[in-house]
Structure formats: structure tokens, C-alpha cells
Point group: C2
Chain length 211, copies 2
Amino acid sequence: MPAQDETRDRILEVTRRLVQSKGFSGFSYADVAAEVGIRKASVHHHFPTKGDLGEALMVRYRRDFGEILARIRASKGEARSRLRAYAVLFADLLRDDYRLCMCGMLAADFDVLPPSVRGEVRGFFDDNEEWLADVLASGRKQQELSFVGSPREQARVLLSALEGAMLVARSHGDVSLFEGVAQRVFHAVTAPPRRAVRAPVSLRRASRRVA
Amino acid sequence: MPAQDETRDRILEVTRRLVQSKGFSGFSYADVAAEVGIRKASVHHHFPTKGDLGEALMVRYRRDFGEILARIRASKGEARSRLRAYAVLFADLLRDDYRLCMCGMLAADFDVLPPSVRGEVRGFFDDNEEWLADVLASGRKQQELSFVGSPREQARVLLSALEGAMLVARSHGDVSLFEGVAQRVFHAVTAPPRRAVRAPVSLRRASRRVA
DNA sequence: GTCTATACACAGATAGAC
DNA sequence: GTCTATCTGTGTATAGAC
């Protein structure tokens, strides 16, 4: 990467963290400049308007997040472990200063978002839904997962639950609340063992896997 | 209600809508004043600081929302219909200008919230969880509902899914996405019919037991 | 209780020197 | 590319007349 892009990268990284913590209307050029260690005017040099900054942020974030998801999808193991890896991404955000998923935060800020950023947020939701639907579909095919209806619809349920659980966990300052919800929604799409079946048993297995 | 409190009430009502649309840092005294039809200074007369306004807003909102929930809980009918009535409250918010649940929005804004408001947000989450847990517990007792684990934990799953589904629906501008998720999570806690069974039944029962 | 007027800080954004 | 300096609008908040 060319040296002249390093400042740009640091700006985007700092902005990402600020948005995940304080929302789109909650951070300012002054905040970004202070944390990067430059002046406001320099930030404007790279991103003339806040809309430009927000748009570039989302493009970058979708790219990075997409790469991570691709790696998880390509990993060996059961569908369930992929779901767990996905939830861990969110839990790590919470653990690191109770930050929120970017799409969750920006969905809340939707009304005050520049239009160009809105499109990216929608796209990011779609990215997540599609990835989850893929994992769900192939997991069901392998008989590792079990659920009613289309993978896409079920993906929306999982995504909603995880996004909402981040909000709940954040307001209580307790990551385990998120983990509890994740465990339960994943358990709900897990295929029952081929034989032998008491509910408490599979629940306990679930708790080891997701906690 | 004394006449002198009418302006105060209108301010709180306008503020509620603004917060649900734009978030806590997304609305201003100027916005409130313009919509109420008074001047900024008059708003400050009733609520000196934004923290005061936010706190009063939450106290009022919890009271009003609590009354609505109490009415739903007291209604005749199955547990399931109470859950549906609860979801309708949220869907109506979306239908009316894609507003968000107050606790969802303020959970996203948590970092930029005055401390006194934070406590109210936490309390509001607890109100909702407790109410849902009550409905779930009595529904299970009546064998109308079926789920694994404690009502409280299951309540958290439902609340998370509904909060998250509001975000998803909002960013796509499509209330039916919310309704789809609500339908599915409610179905997941609904007890299977006493008799009557077709082939997919074991699958459906499995998915019903946990969200 | 509401108003006008204003204080003061900060927002996003620009001009132009280096 | 980064800086200083500045512009203009808006933010929360206050003083004091009516």
C-alpha cells in the first residue's frame, strides 16, 4: 500500500470505532482529527464532507467484513461452528468497549444519514443476510441444521436477534446477555441428534459450543 | 390535568417522536420548539438541560408504555395473542414514519446519553423483559406456549429479535420484514397442537421448542 | 410562561500559506 | 498533505423584558 494512503486508512479506522460507539451524528471531524493526531482541515483534505467519509467508511467496512466472512465460510467444520464464529465477531465488538455492529448502529441513525451512506448500510445488511442464508442452506443440506422456511427468512431472524441482542447487552453492560441469546437462536436451528433425545442434553451441548 | 402542564406534555410528545426518528444526538431544542410552535427558550423553561428533557421523556414513556402493556396482559385470550399485540405496538411505530422503539434507539445512543437517561433506558429494557417473561411463563403454564429454559431468558431472545427486526425493517423501508421475523419467533414458542400431525411434524416441533 | 436577545462552544467546511 | 486561520451555521444554555 502506498505511503500516501496511510493517513487515509487511519482516519477510516478511527472513524469506524467512533461510529460504532457514538453513532453517525455523535462523532465529529474534531474527534477524528484528535485521535489520528492531525488537524480537522487535514481530515477534510481526505474526505471533503461527512457524507464522503461515511460512504468511504462503509465501502471499506463492507470489504473488510466480507473478507472475514469469506474466510469463515471457507473454513472446515460444521455449519454450526461457522455460525458461532460469526457471533464471536459481534461479541468481540461488545467486549472491546461495547461497540455495536456498524449496520445496527447506522440503521438506528438512518434518518440522519446522507443518502449515499444509506445505500451502503442497506447493502451491508444484505451482505450479512446472504452470507447467513448460505450457511443455513448448506447446513440444512448436510442435515446439521434444521429450520422451517427459506434460508433467507431464517437468516433474517438470526441477524435480527443478534443485532437486537447487541443493544440489550450494551445497555446492561453485560456481554453474556448477547452470548445467551446467540446460544439460543443457534440451538433453535440445530438439527436434533439422529437418535437419543432429551431437550436438556442438547441445550447443554449448545452452551459449550457457543459460550 | 392542569392547563399549565399542557405545553410540557406537547414538548414531551414531540421529543418522543424526534428521538425515535433521529436519536438522542440527532434532535435539538430548535427542532422541538419548531414543532411545538414555541421558542427554544420556552423549552428550556420546562426542561433546563437536554439531560432533564431526556430523563423526563423516559419516565413518561415508561409510564405510558407500562399502562399499555398492563392492558394487554389483562386482556382475555391466549398468550400468543398477547405476544402478537405486543409486536403490533412495534409494527405501528415502523408504519408511522419508521420510528424505532425508544429503548432500541437509546441503546444505540448509549455512549452519548446523560447518565440519568441511561438508567431509565436500562429500566425500560427490564420492564419489557419482565412483561414478556410473565406472558411466557403463564402461557407455558396454560400449555399454550412451549420453550426451553427460563421465561426470562426466552423473553430476552424475543425482545432482541424484535428490536433487531425493527432495525432491519427500517433500513429496508419494509415493515413486512419486521412482521416476518415476529411471526417466526412467536411460532417458535408456540406449543404444538395436542393431536394432528403431518410428516414435517418432528421438524416443526423441534423448531418450536426454542426460538 | 413565553418572548427577544445573546453568550459561547462546536459543527462542518473553505482559503491559502508552507 | 498538513497546517493556521477563518467562515457560517447550529448546538445548548442563560438573562432579562413582557
